[in-house]
């Protein structure tokens, strides 16, 4: 083991009252590849953001090369020798590869404001050759495929950090393999080993545990923003990692399981052989009255796309959707709502809340056309409805005329739930309904979900965590790479084990 490059002591991050990362200790040695694993939302990406200078830590200290370390921006981190290859690609499509590699660093090629493109291209060529890539650096990024873009990104980061700290740089790879083919992954791993031999350290995040076991020397396991295990890769196996990732067992009480209803036999929604090109294929299921159907899968498994199709936000390329036995197609969410499908969207601020409108308007917006008398709304009626929901859902606000963006995340989410319930739609799609919501509001939201099914609504749930999905659902469908890989019944008292579901997910 080489010298200690980087150390984190008790690092954490809070957003408001919400702690997403808590008390993390981490050591990175020179010439080491570290694996970082955990479920979605476990805090892996947050930690990477803190190290790479995207965000500031709320607590704890970090040291780089023995000195206290803090980075005010990505560029600042780069200059100190820490670089990150992002999950969402950060290249500019309309610029050339060389321009992207030297973006923000053009100064060394310019005289009197004129850039010496030839020299930049030559240097870019060298930077690309360092990772065995043979590609013309004057090509536009949008003209090359995703895998090549990923490699360019790596070349860029590598170039920046070696310039700053040759031989003791730290490179963070956030799920670099998701868009790569097996062949390309092999190539990438060769490069990772190269970097390592030069004395650099690499942090490798992936959902694919076999890769993590293959490439890393040590593994950190995160769960719910905490570090649950650190282990040597030697001696670890997939099952051990699963166990550490999942951790604590479910508590039925938290998910109000005593109120879980047994679904009736009446089929409300029937999906047959549904496909969306490039996202998912041959998805079929039935949704019964009073049922909570959980959709599980890692990011990119296609579950989000299934939702998008069901709410009319995307048109399926094949397959049928039947509501109460009648075949339907929808061109937009309006038509889907008319047929009885409405969603509580994932991105609450951007897709859920109509920010500068009042709580009242936000509650009635999905119901107002049926509520109205020849398009005219009675102010008295809408006010009464809004008032009732605010009391029933326990929204903490001064009055129903408050703007929804003045509410806390949990309260705003309750308003959006009220909207969904008020809409009269029988099929409700809850997309990460408790994302960024505090624990107290979570319980109230779970209670609302139970009320929905008791009232005869059917729910498709994309849980924020697997735990939540199992706790709330009466049945679970697992998706992997756009295909249904498993189906689990989850009656009260006989909930499936997380381990079984995770194995189908990955």
């Amino acid at each position: 083991m080489g010298e200690l490059l980087f150390e984190a002591k008790g690092v954490g991050k809070t957003y408001g009252s919400n702690t997403v990362l808590h008390d993390i200790d981490m050591q990175i040695y020179s010439g080491e590849v570290i694996g970082l694993i955990g479920e979605n939302g476990a805090g892996k990406s947050t930690l990477m953001k803190l190290i790479s200078g995207v965000e500031k830590s709320s607590m704890g200290e970090m040291f780089f090369m023995g000195k206290p370390y803090s980075a005010s921006s990505i560029l600042d981190a780069n200059h100190q020798g820490i670089g990150m290859v992002f999950q969402e690609q950060s290249l500019v499509g309309s610029l050339t590869i060389a321009q992207n590699i030297y973006l923000g660093r053009e100064k060394k090629y310019s005289t009197c404001g004129f850039v010496n493109w030839n020299k930049m291209n030559q240097d870019a060529k060298k930077a690309l050759e360092r990772i065995d890539m043979d590609i013309d650096p004057s090509k536009k990024v949008r003209d090359i495929d995703f895998a090549a873009r990923q490699m360019v990104e790596i070349a860029k980061v590598l170039d920046v950090v070696t310039e700053a700290a040759n031989g003791h740089a730290i490179i963070l790879l956030d799920e670099p393999t998701t868009v790569l083919s097996d062949e390309e992954i092999k190539k990438l791993f060769v490069q990772v080993r190269n970097m390592k031999e030069q004395g650099n350290a690499v942090i490798f995040i992936s959902h694919r545990l076999d890769e993590v076991l293959d490439i890393t020397d040590r593994i950190y396991v995160f769960k719910d923003g905490e570090e649950t295990a650190v282990m040597q890769t030697e001696g670890a196996d997939v099952n051990l990692l699963y166990e550490k990732m999942i951790g604590r067992s479910t508590t039925g009480e938290f998910y109000v399981e005593h109120k879980q209803t047994v679904p009736s036999d009446e089929v409300i929604l029937e999906v047959n052989d549904l496909s969306l090109f490039g996202a998912f294929n041959h998805v079929s299921f039935e949704l019964k009255r009073g049922e909570v159907l959980g959709l599980c899968g890692v990011e990119g498994s296609g579950k989000e796309d299934v939702c998008a199709v069901l709410v009319g936000d995307a048109a399926p390329t094949a397959g049928t959707i039947k509501i109460k036995g009648k075949e339907c197609t929808f061109a937009n969410p309006y038509q889907a709502r008319k047929k009885g499908i409405l969603s509580v969207p994932k991105e609450r601020r951007d897709e859920g809340m109509i920010g500068i409108l009042s709580i009242e308007d936000n509650i009635i917006v999905s119901h107002m056309d049926t509520l109205s008398n020849h398009s005219f709304l009675s102010a008295k009626k809408t006010r009464r409805i809004a008032q009732e929901w605010v009391e029933k859902a326990g929204v903490k606000c001064v009055s129903i005329n408050d703007r929804i963006n003045q509410l806390s995340g949990g309260n705003a989410q309750k308003v959006i739930f009220a909207r969904a319930l008020e809409s009269g739609c029988e099929v409700l799609i809850l997309n990460h309904p408790t994302r960024g919501v505090d624990v107290g509001s979570k319980e109230e939201i779970y209670d609302l979900v139970r009320d929905m099914t008791a009232a005869g609504n059917s729910i498709i749930l994309l849980g924020d965590t697997l735990d939540e999905c199992i706790g709330l659902s009466s049945r679970i469908i697992v998706l992997r790479d756009g295909l249904v890989t498993g189906m689990f019944d989850c009656p009260v008292g006989e909930k499936p084990l997380q381990l079984d579901i995770v194995q189908k997910m990955m």
């Binding site: 936000d313 969410p333 889907a336 709502r337 897709e351 409108l357 917006v365 999905s366 109205s372 709304l377």
Partner: protein, 320 residues
């Protein structure tokens, strides 16, 4: 905390800005010009304000959606010419005919914006030329006067009841209808929703295309009615009457405190904005200021008004 106090102060000011500016404008001018507040001058201002009230009132709805109609002035010119030329033939039936024409023009804009998913300022900048073409084509030699023997048909609009021009009553009725539409109908709510957050409103299952189209249709109808009123007021078909009116209408909306980013505002506030602007232009006229200065003054007012209304954090996106 200091920050929130400051932003509260600014939003508070923009809330009452239209009232403050009315008092300011009328106060200053009545000091400078002795007969500014005489009944005769006020009657003039009312006739002046009537078409603008309708036009700016309609424009408000497009601005609620976060869009803009740069062709509203050209629509006014077009319908002014159509009314002036054909009133002799159709009589007062020309008003409902113009209303229909306005709805059609608005519908064209609305369909182009929603179905082709184009920004409204591009669409209206382009369709504007159609409306101008119709106006200029029908009146190639400049204004055309309504023949003397047909004047009796249009006389009523400028006549006064209780000292107030009938035109002004029409405009007030128009504003009242717009207010009811904005406040108490499904479309009104949907229009605000589109301006506030179009993707959330869409995912809430609201027909956002329909909402946008209805905003354009209302604006078209209002502009057309305004055009007809101009023909009645000027007793002629003037193909350039609307040229400067787009700016004036937008300035009135902004002065009323309606956010250019959409989602907020009221036609009542726009009406107050119109009163202010009319006060300014009439005052400048009575002072004998070169009319060329009028547009410059209105331009300056617009910039100040938008500046005061815009979110200081810079999160408002103007013109979607």
């Amino acid at each position: 905390m200091a920050n929130s106090k400051k932003s509260f102060h600014i939003s508070d000011f923009s809330k009452y800005m239209c009232l403050v500016s009315i008092v300011l404008v009328f106060g200053v001018f009545s000091v400078i010009i002795p007969n500014f507040m005489t009944p005769y001058s006020l009657q003039n201002m009312m006739t002046e304000a009537a078409p603008l009230l309708l036009m700016a009132g309609g424009m408000s709805f497009i601005i609620y959606t976060g869009g803009i109609d740069l062709g509203a002035g050209a629509m006014v010119s077009c319908t002014c010419v159509l009314s002036g030329v054909y009133v002799a033939q159709f009589g007062n039936a020309i008003i409902p005919i113009m209303l229909a024409a306005g709805i059609l023009m608005g519908l064209t804009n609305g369909l182009l914006v929603t179905k082709l998913k184009l920004p409204s300022f591009i669409v209206t900048l382009c369709t504007m030329n159609f409306w101008s073409y119709i106006a200029l084509n029908l009146c190639p030699n400049g204004s055309e006067i309504i023949p003397m023997d047909k004047r009796f048909m249009v006389q009523w609009a400028t006549q006064k009841v209780f000292g107030i021009p009938i035109m002004f009553f029409i405009a007030l009725a128009g504003v009242a209808v717009l207010y009811i539409f904005q406040q108490y109908t499904v479309y009104g709510k949907a229009i605000y929703g589109v301006g506030a957050n179009v993707s959330a409103t869409r995912l809430a299952g609201v027909n956002t295309d329909m909402a946008q189209i209805s905003a354009f249709v209302i604006s078209g109808a209002c502009s057309a009615l305004a055009g007809a009123l101009y023909a009645y007021k000027l007793k002629s078909a003037v193909p350039t009457v609307g040229d400067a009116l787009t700016l004036t209408a937008i300035a009135s909306v902004a002065l009323g405190g309606t956010s250019m980013a959409g989602g907020r505002g009221s036609v009542l506030r726009t009406a107050l904005g119109v009163v202010t602007i009319t006060g300014v232009t009439s005052g400048l006229n009575m002072m004998g200021v070169d009319p060329l200065w009028k547009d410059i003054v209105i331009g300056v007012i617009l910039i100040i008004a938008v500046c005061l209304n815009t979110d200081t954090r810079g999160r408002d996106l103007i013109v979607k």
